[in-house]
Amino acid sequence: MPGQAAELVFDAATKVYGDGAPAVDQLSLTVAAGEICVLVGPSGGGKTTALKLVNRLIELTSGDIRIEGRSIKDLDVTELRRGIGYVIQQVGLFPHLTIEANIGTVPRLFGRDRGWIRRRSQELLELVGLDPSYAGRYPSQLSGGERQRVGLARALAADPPLMLMDEPFGAIDPIVRARLQDEFLRLQREVRKTVVFVTHDIDEAIKVGDRIAILRRGGRLAQYDTPETILKQPADEFVADFVGADRALKAMALHTLAELELRPAANGVRARRTTTLRDALSLLIAEQAEVLTVTDDDGRVLGSVAKDDLLR
């Protein structure tokens, strides 16, 4: 049985359909164990194709992909897939099985018994924020957001070292999506899997990714770096364009007031230390103020920051 997290390496991975142009072209990148790598790009960028190359739902034309140093081509395809958590946008829960049986799908393939699956599904339901009483329900009785939580629980059930997530929150309304993203990040801090996450939404990529791989049309890698570097030093015009004209503001959203060196307390608009720099700047503009009074979560004053401190 799997466990922990695995390093994933794309080594000149290429997929060509027929004699056409490549869908994924010489993709080379390394995802460190326990990191979330987000594949993002315009449609036709080959992000989903790149993802499916990993569990061989699509076979490589040339190049290689290695998990913990082992080429996926040397592994039995069903064994490979059972060792990888797979989450898709439409979830794909089995409508004829209870939530518990859905979560227990892969453990059952590994020969786990009923008791083990029962305990594991209770544990996972709690982990993804659902009441354990959901175990006996059927997928049609759940909302879209709840189903995707179950999808996540199912992918985690056999404790795989690698997770592939194909636009997992793409079909969910914005408010629930934001909450699922937050909970996914909390979950990831607990389970520390290596994750490849596909999205077309740059904001989701910035929020979720430890590193972001931006693919351009034709499946070529445009830039692979941390969200901060991509926002502050886009490799070229395509990347700058893709991340958006507000990239400076997006970069500010990556940090909070708590990370700044505070000045002595001064009278100003009050903001909590957990406020992002972007929201702090917005607050100053809205209030036409120059100074923010920074407080802790209980409202105690910690110090202050000036507008220039935010922009530095």
Binding site: N55, L57, V77, T78, E79, L80, R81, R82, G83, I84, Y86, I88, Q89, Q90, V91, G92, L93, F94, P95, H96, L97, T105, V106, L109, Y138, S140, Q141, L142, S143, R154, L164
Partner: protein, 238 residues
């Protein structure tokens, strides 16, 4: 009593009740007298004929549907074949088969099985095709083998459509099986034929016909109930 029981012909105008002699609409005394020697055996034969036809029809349709589902190229010719068999009038089909297989149960079963193929083949294929693509992708992505996908995902999800086909096939087989009496003195069609030949004895026609209808309704309800038990998930809507 013993004289009545030995009476060879039904209805017996010489010995029957007043109702029978005047061929009234429905003579309950005839029913009492001939349940044991006429209706009950005919009903049992009818159930046998129908069960064999549906069983064989299902087995053949299932095998063909697997081929048609796996190899799309075969789907069209198989569909056309089962369509074609269904379009032959049952009366004609029975007569066409007699020179080949004679006045036998085989003749009747070949004809009855032919009529189940269209409905069962179509419904099994449609049931399998109706499995949502995201469910299949999830199964594949989680490492199901082809056989596991079929047995654990495709087949269970096709059950409602397959049972729907079985219900229609069963009702139509029970109905068509009455025509089998043209070939064979068996089933509920037989007493109807006899009654038609002998001055149209309404009681016997109504009794045998009514039994055929009741049998259909019962079989249909039984299948519906079985599906209810087999697929608890299909009744749920969020």
């Amino acid at each position: 009593m013993s004289v009545l029981a030995a009476a060879p012909v039904i209805p017996n105008f010489g010995q029957g009740s007043a109702c029978e002699r005047s061929t009234g609409w429905f003579c309950t005394d005839w029913l009492d007298a001939h349940w044991g020697d006429t209706l009950q055996p005919a009903l049992i034969q009818h159930v046998e004929l129908s069960l064999i036809a549906i069983g064989c029809g299902f087995a053949i349709s299932f095998a063909l549907a697997l081929l048609g589902y796996r190899y799309r190229l075969l789907d069209v010719p198989l569909g056309v074949l089962s369509d074609f068999l269904y379009t032959i009038p049952s009366l004609a089909l029975f007569q066409l088969l007699v020179p080949i297989t004679g006045l036998t149960v085989t003749t009747v079963e070949i004809a009855l099985v032919s009529y189940t193929l269209l409905i069962l083949y179509r419904n099994i294929v449609e049931g399998l095709r109706g499995v949502p693509p995201d469910v299949l992708e999830a199964a594949r992505g989680m490492g199901f083998t082809r056989t596991q996908t079929f047995v654990r995902v495709e087949l269970p999800l096709a059950v409602p459509t397959i049972v729907a086909g079985l219900r229609i096939a069963t009702v139509s087989t029970i109905s068509i099986a009455t025509v089998a009496a043209l070939v064979l003195p068996k089933g509920l069609g037989h007493p109807i034929f006899i009654a038609l030949q002998q001055n149209i004895f309404k009681t016997e026609i109504l009794a045998a016909g009514g039994l055929a209808v009741a049998l259909s309704l019962f079989a249909d309800a039984l299948l519906a109930f079985t599906q209810h038990l087999l697929t608890p998930w299909s009744r749920l809507r969020a």
